[in-house]
């Protein structure tokens, strides 16, 4: 934080500053409190459970997207990676492979797509949006071809779906996964150089390069991380729908970006945190959840998703969250 903060603010300004800096948490709080008071369905245990079950995917994707956004890139292929990962996972399990091995295979494959994205962006210097756009098409096709265009059901004996719906200490496994990723990820980024490199490359690639940061390698790792998280999301997704789906929602790309942006990750790179992306994803999910509860046409929810991202992008662009005028 800059020394400008030492400038004398009035007490009112200081309070407003704190509010704006933690705008996310404020919004989150409001989103939890207001619907709880006004809509009886919102505060039921079922709703909470359902919510926790379904938000894991978006949170993971948002964190992956955050990594890429930090280096001033974008990953449009995460939805497709989920489709591909989901198909791979269910085909492996249905083909008799040990579940743990199958999950490992899926994660490796997903990370590989991320690495491929990273290589094309960092070494071939192709802009990330067209790279991931093209990769999205490739991944969707591969998923469609190896699945024959059909959903692949997981065998009923598989342990995976049970894992997804069960809980430890009342909290679903998925949420533990998310917590694990957040904690490990944040720790990793904070204590290893790669974390700072991400921010450096995102804010000023030339300066980073001149300071000895390997820009291509940082980019590569960012996209690889996004791929890995998408792979985790694919595992959760497959467990939830108990099958492999080659046409998993393409909307997830936009939602992941929206969630990260809401969470304070800057579209221009160099700013944001994994935790922020988490909060953004939760905010986005709550909004969707509330709209659902009020029986709003899912198409309108889609429209509102677009509006949210425009709003969040605008806030992002005008630097609303970092006190700059």
């Amino acid at each position: 934080m800059s020394t400008l903060e030492m400038v004398d603010h009035t007490k009112k300004e200081r309070k407003a500053n704190v509010l704006i800096r933690h705008l996310n948490l404020v919004i989150l709080l409001l989103l939890i409190v207001i619907p709880s008071l006004t809509n009886p369905n919102f505060r039921t245990i079922q709703n909470l459970e359902g919510f926790l079950q379904s938000s894991g995917i978006l949170i993971l994707l948002a964190m992956g997207e955050a990594l890429v956004l930090l280096v001033a890139g974008v990953d449009l292929s995460v939805g497709a990676t989920i489709a591909l990962g989901s198909v791979l996972l269910s085909l492996s399990i249905a083909g008799g492979m040990n579940t743990i091995l199958a999950v490992a295979l899926t994660l490796v494959a997903a990370t590989a797509t991320g690495i491929l994205n990273g290589v094309i962006v960092s070494y071939l210097k192709i802009p990330s949006f067209i790279t991931t756009f093209g990769m999205m098409g490739l991944e969707v096709s591969i998923a469609l071809v190896i699945s024959g265009g059909n959903r692949i059901s997981l065998p009923t004996s598989s342990a995976l779906p049970a894992l997804a719906s069960s809980s430890v200490v009342g909290v679903p496994y998925q949420i533990w996964l998310v917590i694990f990723v957040v904690v490990v990820g944040t720790f990793f980024l904070r204590h290893y150089a790669i974390g700072r490199h991400l921010y450096a490359v995102g804010s000023n690639p030339s300066a980073a390069r001149l300071s000895g940061v390997s820009v291509p390698r940082t980019l590569l790792l960012a996209f690889a991380g996004s791929g890995l998280l998408a792979g985790l999301a694919a595992t959760v997704y497959t467990a939830r729908i108990v099958s492999g789906d080659p046409i998993a929602a393409g909307n997830l790309n936009l939602q992941a970006i929206a969630a990260a942006v809401i969470g304070g990750v800057s579209l221009f790179g160099g700013r944001g945190t994994l935790v922020g992306a988490c909060i953004g994803a939760i905010i986005y999910q709550i909004i969707t959840n509330v709209l659902n509860l009020y029986g709003i046409d899912p198409n309108i929810t889609e429209v509102s998703g677009g509006l949210i991202i425009l709003l969040a992008a605008y806030a992002n662009v005008t630097g609303l969250r970092d006190n700059r005028t």
Binding site: F129, N299, V303
Partner: protein
Amino acid sequence: MNLVQGFARTAWKEYRIWVVLALLMAVATGVSKGVFIRSSNLINILLLAAPIGIAAIGETFVVFTAGIDLSVVGTWIMGAVVGGSLSVSGSNVAVAVLAALGAGLVIGMLNGSLVAYLNIPPLITTLGMLSIVEGIARVYRGNQPILFMPRAYDALATDYLGPIPVQILILVAVVLAALLLASRSTIGKEMYAIGGNLIAARCSGVRVTGVLIATYAICGVLAALGGVLHSMYMNLAVPNADPTTLFVIIAGVVVGGTKLVGGEGNVINTIAGVLVVLVIQNVMNIVGISPLAEQGVLGLVTLIAVFLNIGWGTAARETPQMRGV
């Protein structure tokens, strides 16, 4: 080097995609054992190429300004839906088509305004708008497709003027207008200027906001026109945005040689790019490659085309717009 050599060299550099197209057609004829070159097949390709070519021309203008419009497929279906539903409910053809184009104009102007006034990156803006437009189209149609539009309405896409399909005449008219716009008008030059160096353009008196809005507006109108013609030809209008259409449009622009960093490019080459992509699709169909592989092939073609156009290892020119997504 004498005049002829110099001319040939420049012509090659600028229009080499047409040579690629010719070679590709030769290969296609061979691979398909002559099926490709049948006049019925070629006419089919042209009739599919016309609407896409028109939309791709609009997209090309946007890319000139170093922007991107991912919402074209949304505008495409919106135009089809608006025109289709008006024609089915009895409006005359001109009214229906004009209303569709009007919808495209509105969407385009919204895109342009968000980019020009709010400075939201075009990628995010158009991605958000895509969701919004698709959602609105679905709500409007209640997820139902429009079938059996009146013969008079479809005429624009299915009729012939002598030996030439009306669609092709429309395409030619649009191409001529686009060429005039791009090379002879002030706005055209301003588009290139904005894409080449935004700051320099602004300092040179280019009316940046006005031109940007106009560019996206033109893209919207042309995308709507494409969607209308396509729906007329198919006698079907669906409120669902087809990702393959988006892929073909973007691939067409990219294969045609227009660089994504903006500031240069050629409208005529976009037509060649669109034809290349459609020929590839056509050959895939004839040879019997699964349609599931379509998106993958398109993605691959896009990546290869971008790579070839950028050149080996040359860093994409970093313009101010390129900070961030």
